[in-house]
């Protein structure tokens, strides 16, 4: 008999009982564990519900359909005191997403600038970067939020003595008042032209890269792209006769009406979050740039590349491998830190839902659970997107 046949006969005579197969045993244990876990969580939930009922505390999600009875300082969708708590939830969620998105945007910009500034040969810029990081990283974020809100707020004038820029933009203690761009019929064409411009620029970028790969000739994508993105909507506006008008904020009674208001709470929170998270991003950028072997810079210099191009074409793309995973946690950290809005009264999800709604309805468990789920989902989405981005900047290895 060959070796194979001998092995097979050995296996054939072994005990073929169901439990002797390790795979089956593993499946059974995992099933039992799942059962155990399920029973554990079921117990916790039913225990909580029983306790709440015994104490006369209402439970359930019906409160989401009752009128809230209070107004909110800033809402991105129409809302008043007769709206339901469900709508309160949506308003809070939108406000959280707004402050998180704006915060992430500015934090990234500040972080990258400060991180790259560390490597500048200009002594002042280099020191500025270090001082910035050391100062704003070491002070607790809550204090920074209070500082930007109360210290800056105290410095702004009252509405009747606002600082104005050209009689259309006003800055005072109630906020920044900007004229609102209201679209008349025909404005859709301008918006369409803008997005068309974006799409065309995207294709030009791809085409230019392909052309460079084939012929080595570079194409001025940035200037062409900008011209198209700005030029097309302008052209559309001229054709349709500028279908916009500006609604100016006017001082009536106590404060300004009309136009767009950026409340000081939003400004203070955004500044505090961006500056604080920017320090961590700056450190991540610094770590990433330092991780690129110095030989790369030397080789690039030896072929005569300009410093700016070295940084943007050679160093930063390689540094991104280290920076992006760190960015992932920093962005999630910013979203979670945005809950400090409750300290200054910015109506984000935490303030409006876990703060006011919880106190008015008393249904702590449902509300906290919903809020936790929302933050969890937001951070999972950020993590997912960043991991996709990370995969695209990772080193492509030979498979």
């Amino acid at each position: 008999m060959s070796q194979e046949q001998r092995n097979q006969s050995q296996v054939a005579t072994a005990n073929r009982s169901f439990f002797n197969n390790p795979r089956n045993r593993a499946l059974i244990y995992q099933f039992l564990l799942l059962l155990g876990l399920g029973y554990f969580f079921y117990n916790i939930v039913s225990n909580t519900l029983a306790n709440m009922e015994a104490r006369g505390i209402k439970s359930g999600f019906d409160f989401l359909f009752t009128a809230s009875g209070f107004d909110i300082l800033m809402t991105l969708i129409p809302y008043d005191a007769t709206s339901t708590y469900g709508r309160t939830f949506v308003v809070g969620l939108l406000n959280t997403i707004l402050v998180s998105a704006v915060g992430i945007f500015f934090a990234t910009i500040i972080g990258f600038i400060m991180g790259v500034a560390y490597f500048s040969r200009n002594w002042l810029i280099n020191r500025l970067s270090i001082i910035y990081v050391e100062t704003f990283r070491n002070i607790p974020l809550l204090l920074q939020v209070f500082f930007w809100y109360f210290a800056v707020l105290a410095a702004l004038p009252s509405p009747r003595e606002s600082m104005s820029f050209g009689e259309s933009i006003f800055l005072n203690v109630r906020g920044l008042f900007l004229p609102e761009v209201v679209g008349e019929p025909g404005s859709n064409w301008v918006v369409f032209a803008f997005f068309a411009g974006l799409g065309i620029t995207w294709y030009i970028k791809k085409w230019a890269k392909k052309r460079q790969d084939e012929t080595g000739e570079q194409f001025p994508v940035l200037s062409t792209g900008l011209a198209i993105i700005l030029g097309l909507p302008l052209l559309a506006m001229l054709i349709t006769g500028i279908p916009f008008y500006l609604e100016y904020p006017e001082l009536k009674g106590f404060s300004f009406r009309g136009g767009v208001t950026v409340i000081p709470e939003l400004m203070a929170l955004t500044v505090a979050l961006s500056v604080y998270t920017g320090t961590f991003i700056a450190e991540a950028v610094r770590a990433g740039i330092q991780s690129v072997p110095h030989g790369q810079t030397e080789a690039a210099r030896s072929i005569g590349m300009k410093e700016r191009k070295i940084m943007s074409l050679i160093i930063v793309p390689q540094a991104m491998r280290v920076i992006v995973p760190l960015l992932n946690s920093e962005y999630q950290s910013l979203v979670k830190n945005s809950t400090l809005a409750t300290a200054i009264g910015y109506p984000d999800l935490f303030t409006v839902f876990v703060g006011t709604s919880l106190n008015q309805t008393g249904q702590a468990i449902e509300i906290v659970f919903m809020t936790m789920a929302v933050y969890f989902v937001i951070n999972m989405i950020i993590s997912f997107l960043m991991n996709r981005f990370n995969a695209s900047v990772a080193l492509v290895e030979r498979k």
Binding site: N43, S158, G345, N359, A364
Partner: protein, 340 residues
């Protein structure tokens, strides 16, 4: 880790959890065993619950806690005070962290029915009002269309404000803060035109302003705010104790018993006074307390009138007049059921 071990751990914990049932709260026993009363108060509101530089708490709400401690433990100082914001107060009481919530809490239908709590009486009849800076030249709340209002988050103030402005077809923007101090800071910095809160709190806040004479309290009172102590549902014995401690304070003033003459009245007062102070009848035993439960209250804390004058009335910086908070036979609505 062996998966079998994991399963057995979960099973054991689940069984342990499953066996839990809710036992009826016996707050009186746990207070006696602990030797002190755990009382929830505010984070700092002049006249109601405030801590001074030495760390001593004082105020109308604090005195209610002290009265209950005097009745149950015989010593008004055996109280642990837990400062709570408007957001945490009900959860702290529901979870058992505190035995009694005495934190200028308005008695409303929603709070009484859906939170598993009971209101044990009213220690201050209040109403919501407005405070504006004199500079604005506003004389009445009806001129406040378009104003920005500073309010404390999660209170009945928010709801009443929304109702009032909606009823009068006026617009406003609501700027919310977590604590009373932050609200005052926001008002002072000019972030809002008007500060709205219970009238008693307005007077307290005005004192804290850098320039108290720069603000006026508008005449309108837009809501009823009966403030009182709160306990958990399901513990009737404790509910009775707190309720009748409140009543004892009011009844003592009605009967003319003060901390100064309590000893005298106990020995040789009128029958009503003797029944209150325990030298006749068994009001204390019926509550599960000692016979001199009310005597301890009046001797150590005083009667309602003394409590009021000392904290928010003529002997205090707030100088609020008795108004609704006087006895029923004196122009107010304070009326205690008889102790007999």
């Amino acid at each position: 880790m062996k998966i079998r071990k994991l399963i057995s751990v979960f099973a054991a914990v689940s069984i342990a959890c499953a066996a839990q049932t809710v036992s009826a709260d016996v707050t009186l026993e746990s207070v006696k065993k602990r030797g002190s009363l755990s009382c929830g108060v505010s984070t700092g509101l002049a006249g109601f619950s405030q801590k001074d530089e030495k760390g001593q708490w004082s105020g109308l709400d604090v005195d209610v806690c002290r009265a209950v401690a005097a009745a149950v433990l015989g010593d008004a100082e055996k109280v642990q005070y837990k400062p709570l914001t408007a957001k945490e107060r009900f959860t702290a009481l529901q979870s058992g962290e505190i035995d009694l919530l005495s934190r200028n809490t308005t008695w409303t239908h929603t709070r009484d029915t859906s939170l598993g709590l009971n209101f044990a009486g009213v220690n201050y009849y209040d109403g919501q009002g407005f405070m504006v800076s004199k500079k604005l030249g506003v004389k009445s709340a009806l001129e406040l269309d378009g104003a920005a209002a500073c309010i404390q988050a999660g209170t009945t103030t928010e709801l009443n404000l929304a109702d009032y402005f909606r009823a009068h077809n006026m617009k406003y923007t609501a700027v919310t803060f977590d604590t009373s101090d932050q609200t005052r800071a926001g008002f002072e910095s000019g972030r809002c035109d008007v500060l709205t809160s219970d009238q008693s709190q307005l007077y307290a806040i005005r004192i804290g302003l850098k320039d108290p004479s720069s603000a006026i309290v508008l005449p309108e009172v837009i809501s009823k705010e009966p403030l009182g102590p709160v306990v958990r549902q399901g513990d009737d014995e404790w509910f009775n104790i707190v309720k009748w401690s409140m009543n004892a304070l009011i009844e003592a003033e009605f009967l003319g018993v003060t901390s100064a003459n309590a000893d005298e009245m106990k020995a040789s007062g009128k029958p009503g006074q003797k029944r209150l102070l325990g030298s006749e009848g068994d009001a204390g035993e019926k509550l599960g307390l000692s016979a001199d439960w009310a005597y301890n209250i009046v001797k150590q804390v005083g009667n309602y009138g003394e409590m009021f004058d000392r904290n928010v009335g003529k002997d205090s910086p707030l100088e609020i007049s008795r108004g609704l908070n006087a006895q029923w036979n004196n122009g107010g609505i304070l009326y205690s059921p008889p102790i007999r």
